[in-house]
Amino acid sequence: MSPQIISAQPMISGKTATSSAISFKTINQHSKTARDNKHKADWRGWKFMWPFAAVFVFVFIIPIVYAVYISFFKKQMIGGTKFVGFDNYAKLMSDMQFWSSVGRVALFTVVQVPIMLFLAAAMALAIDSMKLHGTKFFRISTFLPYAVPAVVSTLIWGFMYGAKYGLVRSFNDLFGTNLDVMVPSVLLISIGNIVTWEFVGYNMLIFYSSLSTIPHSLYEAASIDGASEWQIVKSIKLPELKGSLAITVIFSIIGSFQLFNEPSILQNMVPGNAITTYYTPNMYAYNLSFSGNQSNYAAALAIVMAVITMAIAYAVQLNSMKEQMK
């Protein structure tokens, strides 16, 4: 962060500190002692970490352990609960409804996440460029949809999608088209639009914030060197975005794989069975648990989904994030 501190370090290691750097030297000797005693664990961090960890264990870890536990059982209306080993997992492997739902969210992720992140990054660059009239207005209006509860935003979009009474109808009347965005073939795109609308601002803000950490001296230096605007974007701004890309990609992948609110609310508005009870893995889990009395099977599904999600998130981005975390 500060060049002075960094330069203090070689001074210490070289044992050539001047009197002005003495305090840093002492300080660093302290930390050096701490480093030397690395084999003796430093537990101080837990003094600050434990409240988060405790609540996290309570809200996530225990339920996950319990989910793993019940995934080895089967509960029947007739016959009660019995241990079945890996039966639920074996059944899941050949459950076509499950795999079709996984395929659907995978497709959704591959298409929607890049579009959303591209829009978010483009908007962040535009706002950061200071070339817009009314920067503040654009910043707030892009972020505002994030404030709308998913229930409400799906209701609003659901109305607008209506081919009979919604805006789509008005559009069709106006242009003589015969558009219907609620038919199964384009429904996933329609859902993707809702999700994009909801979260583009959230991601924009993360990108934008990372752009604002770029020191201005860098821009000045670049322009003195005669770099064009585009070159600055390419060689200064985009590399900066890469860092925040890791976290947004991971959160977006997890979010898409857990797609639930939007399709389940739309289910009641979409004609026919365009949205089945196994449209997404999360909807399938919901129906297994709450309409089907099959919590054990749903638990197995959850574990498998977690493994799949993690594997993908890891493959895509976790590595670069680990670097960032040291």
């Binding site: 225990i62 004609p271 069975n273």
Partner: protein
């Protein structure tokens, strides 16, 4: 070291909690039937209109009992919540409102109690036949009906006038078919009705004399192809093939209400609880709607059936069953039933149904028609034997997956029902039932 101990302690805590959660068997409290001395607080989960007012009346009449009411959303939400409380072994209310069709699944796992302990069986003749029949499991009442819900026929007179159809002359399903063609001839979005939902589907099959489910303890027979269903399916298929049913509108959606309001969906065959939904959801249709008896398969018959309907049950977890029963009895059979009826519930007791002032009430929404008279007549008609599956929630959720594609023309109704029957049979087998799928 200290931290290692902490870690051990944490693990121990986790294990204990998991253990706690694992032994989630419902603790059955002792059933107290001494209703005369009932007192204390009871918790009640339900939905709908007039509940608050009924509770006020109850607490006034029974100052020793307080009712804590929570509106728990839709019937499905309420059933889910009860299921969760059962799994947790605690947290269930004392009195719960259930959709009639879901009562059997809670009887099977012992979550609701037999009300004949309180003498509810003597009400058999006080309630209309249709709703009462649904309360009985193995001959014993496990719930008390809040409303009767005979399947009736609602039609939009304005649309019919435009199409040249006389609503009053529709007596049979053949008449209905002719009317459907005339309505469709209006063009645009005009249809006789929209694609059919789970509940109305069962109700209309029931009216045709179908018995898709037969449940005898652990044995279930599923038959989606008996005589009644064959008749019903052939008729529906004809409507679908000739584009007489709107496949693009689904029940309970905004579009549905709008189409009922503007008359493009011209008729509904649905339960007698529908007037309130119409009045508020399709306010624009005021004055245009009428109600009549369901068309018959053979002219002159008086076959009826039940669609939906709700009832009150007492949970096995209740620690104050006496007060719980007292309240359930009050709301369904006692003075509370009148309060409920005044707030739009279509009553289940014969006394209220036959009340002349109730029957002669003129309804503005229905062009001052004496709606209650028609509905009451339907409620008191005889119904054939019909059973719901002990896993009704599952059956309801899968109906959309398997059957609805037939209304979209993606498959025939017959094939769709065969697929549906297989889904239901497989599930039953998986749940430990002995299922025969015919």
């Amino acid at each position: 070291m200290r931290n290692a101990k902490k870690a051990v302690a944490a693990m121990a805590a986790i294990t204990t909690l998991v253990g706690l959660a694992a032994c989630g068997n419902s603790s059955t409290a002792k059933v107290d039937t001494d209703t005369a001395n009932a007192k204390g607080e009871i918790v009640f989960w339900g939905w709908g209109n007039g509940i608050k007012e009924t509770i006020d009346a109850f607490e006034k009449a029974n100052p020793n009992i307080t009712v804590k009411y929570s509106s728990t959303g839709t019937a499905a939400d309420t059933a889910t919540a009860l299921q969760n409380a059962i799994a947790a072994g605690k947290g269930a209310p004392d009195v719960i409102m259930l959709e009639d069709a879901t009562v059997p699944q809670f009887v099977v796992d012992g979550s609701v109690i037999d009300l004949s302990q309180f003498g509810a069986d003597k009400f058999a003749d006080d309630f209309a036949a249709g709703p009462w029949a649904k309360m009985l499991q193995e001959g014993k009442p496990y719930a008390l009906p809040i409303d009767s819900s005979p399947e009736v026929f609602f039609y939009n007179k304005a649309t019919f006038d435009k199409a040249g159809v006389d609503g009053e002359s529709i007596k049979t399903w053949d008449d209905y078919y002719e009317a459907a063609k005339k309505v469709r001839a209006l063009g645009g979005d005009y249809y006789i009705t929209n694609s059919i939902d789970y509940q109305p589907f069962l109700a209309q099959a029931w009216q045709a004399g179908a018995q898709p489910f037969k449940v005898d303890g652990e044995n279930i027979t599923i038959n989606m192809n008996d005589k009644g269903l064959q008749q019903y399916v052939a008729f529906q298929q004809k409507l679908i093939d000739e584009d007489l049913i709107n496949p693009k509108i689904t029940n309970w959606s905004d579009d549905w209400y709008r189409s009922l309001g503007d008359g493009t969906t011209a008729t509904l065959s649905i339960g007698a609880w529908m007037p309130t939904d119409l009045e508020t959801g399709a306010a624009a249709g005021k004055g245009n709607w009428r109600v009549a008896q369901l068309p018959q398969w053979t002219d002159g018959e008086e076959a009826s059936s039940e669609d939906g309907g709700s009832s009150l049950a007492i949970t096995a977890q209740s620690k104050n069953t006496a007060a719980a029963y007292k309240f359930a009895e009050f709301l369904t059979h006692g003075d509370g039933a009148k309060v409920m009826a005044d707030h739009g519930t279509f009553p289940a007791t014969k006394k209220l149904l036959e009340d002349p002032s109730f029957q002669s009430e003129k309804n503005e929404y229905f062009g001052r028609q004496e709606v209650n008279k028609v509905l009451a007549e339907a409620a008191e008609r005889k119904v054939s034997k019909f059973q719901y599956l002990p896993y009704n929630s599952f059956a309801q959720s899968k109906y959309g997956d398997d059957v609805v594609p037939a209304f979209q023309g993606k498959t025939t109704l017959k094939d769709a029902l065969a697929k549906y029957a297989k889904t239901l049979a497989d599930y039953g087998t998986d749940q430990g039932y002995t299922v025969s799928n015919q």
